[in-house]
């Protein structure tokens, strides 16, 4: 097959991913690595590096608005992003050192686990936090944001911060190891574990992702794992697709799209497992 077909196919596939990601309320980064590694000829190293760049650029593009609107909070994000960015370096180094087949099998298992988390995890608009823990108080992880839907200021505080730091450490390892965007894990960790309001969790998750993926992306870049012919069409596709997705959002039934995403993830996870076992 001619070489130029692949970047065009990549652009078309990632454009569709960008649309679906917005409609299903998931990050494009979580779809990219499973789908591209399963159905395109690029080595997993290049796909993971491109996956990090896709997740990073999407997060960087969204963060200014979220920060300006108060829906991403720096005091909440900074300690968690710091831990995640350290462990994502470890994840990236381990991922590049392990044999490809081992990473492929682990990726397959991780994708199936992500599908399960997405299917099972609940959400809580305004979790009740009776008392903030000592660490969150010391780090100033509390505040007020304006909720446009409620039309009022909403106060928030968090608890279980030490456990939250451990969880974000684990999320960082996964992000670096597999090149996955980690919104699927960040949001439940902030919302259900630490008790941050849902909207603040979603906004802050994107900010954390932009920092965590930055450190892992540098590791891949320095190891020669970045191919512009994979990265640039993917970035363009996902970002343009996300714009179209945002326009389609008001008239699309989200639950149907979410089921479609779960089905695709299960398919891609199974394909990754089979590839890992050489089948």
């Amino acid at each position: 097959m001619e070489w130029w077909i692949w970047p065009i196919a990549l652009f078309v596939a990632t454009f569709a991913m960008g649309i679906v990601a917005v409609l299903a309320g998931v990050g494009g980064g979580v779809l990219f690595v499973p789908i591209v590694s399963a159905f395109f000829p690029f080595h997993l190293d290049f796909v993971r590096a491109a996956g990090l760049m896709v997740a990073l650029t999407s997060a960087l593009s969204a963060a200014p608005t979220l920060l300006s609107n108060g829906l991403a909070n720096l005091r909440l994000a900074m300690p968690l992003a710091l831990v995640g960015s350290i462990t994502s370096i470890v994840g990236a180094l381990v991922g590049l050192a392990l044999p490809t087949q081992a990473v492929q099998v682990a990726l397959g298992l991780a994708i199936l686990a992500i599908a399960l988390v997405m299917w099972r995890s609940g959400r809580s608009e305004h979790p009740h936090v009776r008392r903030p823990d000592a660490l969150s108080s010391a780090l100033g992880m509390h505040g007020v944001y304006h909720d446009p839907a409620l039309g009022r200021e909403v106060g928030w505080q968090v608890h279980r911060t030490p456990l939250g730091l451990v969880v974000f450490g684990a999320i960082g390892v996964l992000a670096g190891l597999f090149g996955l965007g980690a919104g699927w894990a960040n949001v439940p960790a902030l919302n259900l574990l630490m008790g941050a309001p849902l909207k603040l969790s979603v906004g802050t998750s994107g900010f954390i992702l932009s920092v965590v993926d930055t450190s892992a992306a540098w590791v891949y870049l320095n190891r020669g794992a970045v191919l512009p012919i994979v990265v640039v069409p993917s970035l363009l596709g996902v970002m343009l697709g996300a714009r179209v997705g945002a326009r389609l959002l008001p008239r699309t039934p989200a639950h149907i799209v979410k089921r479609l995403v779960l089905a695709v993830l299960v398919l891609a996870g199974a394909r990754s497992l089979l590839k890992g076992f050489g089948i």
Partner: protein, 120 residues
């Protein structure tokens, strides 16, 4: 809060510039205006290799050695890629003077971690 505004402003400008550079350099690459280190046809034979074997087969630069290959169409794109990966470092560093002492220390450690990642 002031730090949010500063971070948001620098991030928005940085992302816009980096993305524009990436698109412009990719156009140069795809139009063949600068000869690439690895031609696209050759690349299609090699992109199924792991990164270390690809580097060994092509002599592709690792670390910051890509700076010496900016005359090549493919590695010219690394300016935009590196810019995207540097934005958070710049924004954190810019925000430090506006933060209270504890948060400023956290931000300084974060900058150090990202710089370590950039040279690993």
């Amino acid at each position: 809060m002031r730090e949010h505004e500063i971070y948001a402003r620098w991030l928005a400008a940085g992302t816009r510039i980096a993305f524009a550079v990436l698109l412009a350099t990719f156009l140069v690459y795809m139009l063949g205006l600068l000869e690439p280190l690895v031609s696209p046809r050759e690349l299609a034979r090699l992109w199924a290799l792991p990164a270390d074997k690809f580097v060994a087969a092509t002599g592709a630069p690792t670390g910051w050695r890509w700076l010496g290959f900016l005359g090549k169409g493919d590695y010219l794109n690394f300016i935009g890629v590196a810019a995207l990966a540097s934005i958070s470092i710049v924004c954190y560093a810019r925000m430090i003077p506006t933060l209270p002492k504890l948060q400023a220390r956290l931000a300084a450690i974060q900058v150090a971690v990202l710089l370590v990642a950039a040279v690993l």
